[in-house]
Symmetry: C2
Subunit: 402 residues, 2 copies
C-alpha cells in the first residue's frame, strides 16, 4: 500500500546516524555535532520582540503569498543586494524547503529531469522523489576542489526531459563560492537549451576573504527563466522560524506557485511578524556572524589539513567543509567513532557525504563538517577526529581501511 515515490525518498544522511549518537550519549560521551547545519549563534533579539509585540485576538490565516509588510521588508533587503525583486514577486514559504518544492513543481512534471551539481544539498533528493522528478547529477570531485564542471559535462547529460538546473551558491555541502565565469556556464546552458535556473542562495552572506556570492539575478538575460530560493534560517540563526522565500520575475512561474501556496492556505502567522523583526535587526549582527564563521572556518581548515591523507580545499563560503578522508567508507568510520572512540569522554560526529551524491558509490570516503560550534570546540572536535582516523587505520581487522 506504499507508493514507489515514498520508497524512493532517501533517508536523510544527516539524520540517519543520529541513533548512534544517542547511544554514545547514553554511555555518557559528549558528542560534538558537526553533522548538521544547526548554528549555535544567538538569534537576533528582534525576533522575540516582534513576536511578543504581535497581539491579536484570533490567530488567523494570512495571505497565501505572505503578509505585505514582510514582503515589503524582504524586497528592501533584496534591493540592498542589487536584487530588484518587488513584494508581488515574493512568496513567503515554510522555509527554503517549501520554496524548492514549489520551484520543482512549477517547472517539472513526473519523470522530468533536473540537473544538479553533485555533491548537492541532500534534501533536494527527497523533494525530487516526493514530486517524481529525476535529479541528474554532474559530478565534481574533492581533488579539483568541487569547482564548477565544464559546459561539455553539462551538455552530456541534457535530454529532451531536462527542465532546469538546481544548485546552491555558496554551496552546501562543499563551501565553494562560484565565480562569475563559472556561473556564466550555467547561464549559457540555460539559454541555449531553454532551461530554468533554480538558484538556492540561502548562504548569500557567507562568503569569506575576497569572495563574493554572486546572485543568479546578476545575469539579466535569464530573469525570465530564474527562480531564486531563499531562507532566513542560516543568516539569522533562525532555522526554527521556517520562513523562506520563492522569488521570480516570471509572472507565469509566480501564478503557478501561488496556486500551490493557496492550496496550503498560508505560512504561519506569528513567525512572519517575527521575521520582520529579523529583517529589522542591527546591521552589525550579520557582520559579527560572518566574522565568527570566518574564524571557525579558519580553525576547521587548519586542523583538517593537518590530518595525513586528507584532501580538502579551504571553504570560501556557507559554513561547511567537505573533505576526503583516508578511509574507504566514511559512513562506517563515523559509526565507529560514535560507537568505539572517544577522548576524555568526547567524540565527534560529521555527516557522510555519500548521501549528497546521486551517483551510486560516489563520495564514500568523503565527509561534510558543519562548522557551527565555537572555534575552541571545533578545534577540539577535529583533533578528536584526527586521533580517531589514526586509530582506525591501525585496526587491521576492518576492511574499510585504505
Amino acid at each position: 500500500m506504499i507508493s514507489k515515490r515514498a520508497l524512493n525518498v532517501p533517508a536523510s544522511p544527516i539524520r540517519r546516524l543520529v541513533p548512534f549518537a544517542d547511544e554514545a550519549k547514553k554511555k555518557g560521551i559528549h558528542v560534538y555535532h558537526l553533522n548538521i547545519g544547526q548554528p549555535d549563534i544567538e538569534t537576533p533579539p528582534q525576533w522575540f520582540e516582534y513576536i511578543e509585540k504581535f497581539k491579536t485576538k484570533v490567530v488567523s490565516y494570512t495571505h497565501s503569498q505572505g503578509i505585505l509588510p514582510l514582503r515589503e521588508k524582504f524586497s528592501e533587503y533584496y534591493k540592498k543586494w542589487d536584487i530588484n525583486i518587488e513584494p508581488d514577486e515574493i512568496i513567503v514559504t515554510n522555509g527554503g524547503s517549501e520554496a524548492i518544492m514549489f520551484a520543482l513543481g512549477v517547472v517539472c512534471d513526473p519523470n522530468d529531469e533536473v540537473i544538479v551539481i553533485e555533491p548537492f544539498y541532500a534534501n533536494y533528493a527527497g523533494f525530487a522523489a516526493y514530486l517524481n522528478v529525476k535529479l541528474v547529477p554532474v559530478t565534481t570531485t574533492p581533488e579539483n576542489g568541487y569547482r564548477m564542471p565544464t559546459k561539455e559535462e553539462f551538455e552530456k547529460v541534457i535530454t529532451s526531459k531536462t527542465k532546469a538546473i538546481l544548485f546552491s551558491n555558496p554551496s552546501n555541502p562543499t563551501g565553494v563560492v562560484y565565480t562569475k565565469e563559472e556561473l556564466q556556464i550555467l547561464v549559457d546552458i540555460a539559454l541555449e537549451h531553454n532551461l530554468v535556473i533554480i538558484s538556492d542562495e540561502v548562504y548569500r552572506e557567507f562568503a569569506f576573504d575576497d569572495k563574493k556570492a554572486i546572485s543568479a539575478y546578476e545575469f539579466e538575460e535569464i530573469h525570465d527563466r530564474l527562480i531564486i530560493v531563499d531562507s532566513v534560517s542560516k543568516r539569522y540563526s533562525a532555522c526554527g522560524a521556517r520562513i523562506g522565500t520563492f522569488l521570480t520575475k516570471n509572472k507565469n512561474f509566480y501564478s503557478a506557485a501561488l496556486k500551490f501556496a493557496q492550496a496550503r492556505l498560508s505560512p504561519t502567522e506569528i513567525t512572519q511578524y517575527g521575521t520582520i523583526g529579523l529583517l529589522n535587526s542591527e546591521e552589525s549582527y550579520i557582520q559579527n556572524v560572518i566574522n565568527e564563521y570566518k574564524k571557525r572556518r579558519d580553525v576547521a581548515f587548519e586542523e583538517i589539513k593537518k590530518i595525513p591523507g586528507v584532501i580538502a580545499h579551504k571553504p570560501e563560503g556557507a559554513f561547511y567543509l567537505a573533505a576526503k578522508l583516508p578511509v574507504n567508507n566514511a559512513e562506517e568510520f563515523i559509526k565507529w567513532m560514535l560507537s568505539n572512540f572517544s577522548i576524555d569522554n568526547k567524540t565527534t560526529m560529521v555527516a557522510p557525504l555519500s548521501g549528497f551524491y546521486a551517483t551510486p558509490n560516489l563520495g564514500t570516503s568523503e565527509i561534510r563538517i558543519a562548522y557551527v560550534l565555537d572555534s575552541e570546540k571545533i578545534k577540539d572536535a577535529i583533533k578528536i577526529l584526527a586521533k580517531g582516523i589514526e586509530k582506525y587505520k591501525t585496526l587491521t581487522v576492518d576492511s574499510s581501511i585504505k
Copy 2:
C-alpha cells in the same frame, strides 16, 4: 517552461472571487465574509501565554516529527476521544494541509487514483494536482442532503489504479456528519478492494444536537490501512498556527511520511509550544465554541430555508451549510452580489460550490456558507442574500436565471 501539473491546479474557489470583494470594499460597501472558514472566535489565551513563556537563545529546528511534549499532549487529547494513538504514531505537520499531502504521497504514485465524495474540500484538488494524483469523484446531491453514496456507486469507479478513499467527517463543505452505517460502507470497500482510508477529522468537535462525529479509528479492522489527518485550526480558532497532525498505526506509512517530513526538516518551533498551550486550554473553551456554532447554524439554516426555491438540509456538523440556489450559475450570482447589490451599504459573499466538485458542470447552482460570524451578522448577511436573489431573479436580461 511551466509544468502541466501547475496548470492543472485549480485556482481556489474560496479565494478567486476576492478581487470582486476588494472592489466592493473600495466603494465603501461592507462585505460579510461567509466565503471562507476563518472563524472570528477568540483563540484560547494559553496560545499567547505559551508563546511568551517559550524562551530560547537560538530559534532551532525541532525533531522532524515534532517535539515530544507536543506529541504527548496530542496523544492524551486523542485518547480522550478513544483514539489510541501514541506519540510515535504522530507527525506534527504544517497544518492539516501538509498532513493530507503526506498521506497522498505515501499512498500514491503519479496517475494513481483516489476516490473522493463530491462536493469535497476544494484544496484536495490542489494537493492532488501537485502530486499528480487523480481524484475520482462519487457524487452526492443537495436533494438527498449530500448523504453517503451507496456501496455500488463507489464500486463503479474503482479501478486497478485506485489506492485510497479521502473524505472529511464532519464534512466540509456539506456539514454532513456520517452515521456508523454510512462509514461502514467505506470500511467494507477499503477491506474488499485493498484501499487506504484517509480520514480528515479536523471538525471532530463540531457535531450538533444528538449527532456524534465517529472517527474512522472506531473501525478496528482498518487500523493497518488508516491515516487520520487533523488540525488545531478550527477547534481552537487558530488557523494561523499552521499546526496539524498525520496519524497512523501503520509503521510503514509512518516511516514513509517521516522521510517526507525529514526532507523539509521540521515544523515551526515556537508554534509547537503555542499549540501545547492550546491543548492545555480550559475544557469549557471548546464547549462554548460548539454552543456558539450551534447557535449560528440554527440562525443560518432558519434564514436560508425562508428563501423561496432554495434546497438546503440542516447541517449536522463542521461550520458550513451547503445549499442549492434558484440561479443557474451561483458564481455569476456571487460576482453580481459583490458588484451590484447592497442593502444599507452591506453585501454578502459566499463560496461557489462548483469548485468543490471534480465532475465538470456540477454544483453550478450551489453555494457554501461558512457560519463564522456572530448570529446577528449571519442573520443580516443571509437576509441580504435573500433580497439579492429576489432582485437577481427579476433581471430578465441575465441568462443565468431559472
